[in-house]
Symmetry: C2
Subunit: 206 residues, 2 copies
C-alpha cells in the first residue's frame, strides 16, 4: 500500500493514526503542500479535487480520509475500530457526520486564521474567529454531554469517530483555542485519554 499525503495534513493524520492503531504501515509518498504539489497533474490524476491523502492498494485508488480509514479498518488485521454492535456502530457514524458537517468547518476557520494564516504573515479575521469559536463551542457542548457517560464517542471502545476529531483538536491548541476543549470537563478528559495513545504520538511524530 502507498499513502500519498503530507505529515501536517489533518486528513493524512487520520489515516496515519488508523494505520498505527491497526499495527500496519504503508509506504509514505510525500505530496508537498508547501510547494503546491497537491494541485499539480501527478496529484490531480489520483485526486481530482487536488487534495491529500490518497491511498493506493494494489491498483485500487481511493481518496477522502473518512472513506480510507473505514476501508483500512475493514481490510487490515488488528484491533477493530468500528463497533460490531449495531447501535454503537450507528453512534460512531453519527459522530463522524457531526464532525464533518458541524465541527470541522468552523474549527478550520479558527486554524486557518490563527495558525496557518499567521505563519504566512496574515492578520487573523477576529470576527470570523469569534463566530467560529461559538460554533465549535456549541458542538463541543453536545460532545461533552455525550462523553459524560462513556469513555469514547461510540461507547466503551475507541473508534474511527474519535480519530476523526483528533487532528482538528490538536491544531485548535496551536491556534489559541484549546480552552474550548479543556474547559469542558468530559471533553477535556476524553482528549487527554485519546491524545495519549501511542498511535496518535506516532502519527504526529511526537
Amino acid at each position: 500500500m502507498k499513502l500519498y499525503g503530507h505529515p501536517m495534513s489533518t486528513c493524512t493524520r487520520k489515516v496515519l493514526t488508523t494505520l498505527a492503531e491497526k499495527g500496519h504501515e504503508a509506504e509514505f509518498v510525500l505530496v508537498d503542500l508547501m510547494k503546491g504539489e497537491t494541485k499539480q497533474p501527478a496529484n490531480l490524476a489520483r485526486q481530482p479535487f487536488g487534495q491529500v491523502p490518497t491511498l493506493e492498494d494494489d491498483g485500487f485508488v481511493l481518496y477522502e480520509s473518512r472513506a480510507i480509514i473505514r476501508y483500512l479498518d475493514e481490510k487490515l488485521s488488528g484491533p477493530k475500530l468500528t463497533p460490531s454492535e449495531i447501535r454503537e456502530h450507528a453512534r460512531m457514524e453519527q459522530w463522524i457526520s457531526v464532525e464533518t458537517s458541524d465541527f470541522t468547518p468552523p474549527a478550520m476557520t479558527i486554524i486557518l486564521n490563527n495558525l496557518f494564516g499567521r505563519m504566512q504573515g496574515k492578520t487573523p479575521d477576529a470576527d470570523a474567529v469569534s463566530k467560529a469559536r461559538e460554533k465549535v463551542g456549541a458542538t463541543l457542548d453536545v460532545l461533552d454531554a455525550a462523553l459524560a457517560t462513556k469513555d469514547f464517542l461510540a461507547g466503551g471502545q475507541f473508534s474511527l469517530a474519535d480519530i476523526c476529531y483528533m487532528p482538528y483538536i490538536e491544531y485548535l491548541f496551536a491556534a489559541e483555542s484549546g480552552d474550548l476543549v479543556t474547559k469542558r470537563a468530559h471533553a477535556g478528559a476524553w482528549w487527554k485519554r485519546i491524545s495519549e495513545r501511542p498511535s496518535w504520538k506516532k502519527a504526529t511524530g511526537k
Copy 2:
C-alpha cells in the same frame, strides 16, 4: 420506529428514500420547520443541534441522516444498499464524503438563495450563487467522469451514495440550476436513472 422530520427537508428525504428502498415504513412525526419547531425544546431534546430528522427505534435515538440511512440498511431486511465487495463499499464511502464536504455546501448556497430565499421574498446574492455554481460544477465534473463507466456511484448497484445526492439535485432543478446536471451527459443520465425509482417518487410525494 418513529421518524421525526419534515417532508421537504433534504435530510428527511434521504431517510424516506432508504425506507422505501428497503420496503419498510416508520411512523412519521412532523417537526414543522415552517413554524420553527426544530428549535423548540421537544425537538432539541432528541436533536441538540435543532435539526431534522431523528430516528427513534425502541428507545434508541439517532440523528444525522447519513448515520440513520446506514443504520436502517444494516438493520432492516430488503435489498442491500451497501455493496458487500470491499472496494465498492469504499467507493460508496468516498462519494458520500465528497457529497458532504464538496457538493452539498455550495449546492445549499444555490438552493437557499434561488429557492427558499425567494419564497421568503429575499433577493438572491448573485455573486454567491455564481461562485457556488462553479463549485457544484467542478464536483459534477468529477462525478460525470466516474459515471462514464458505471451506472451508479459505487458501481453496478444502487447504493446509499446515490441517495445522498438526490435531495440536493432535486432542489437544484427548482433553483434554476438543473442545467449543471443535465449538461453533463453521464451525470444527467444517472440522475434520470435514479430519480425514476419508485422509492424516490414515494419519498417526494410524486
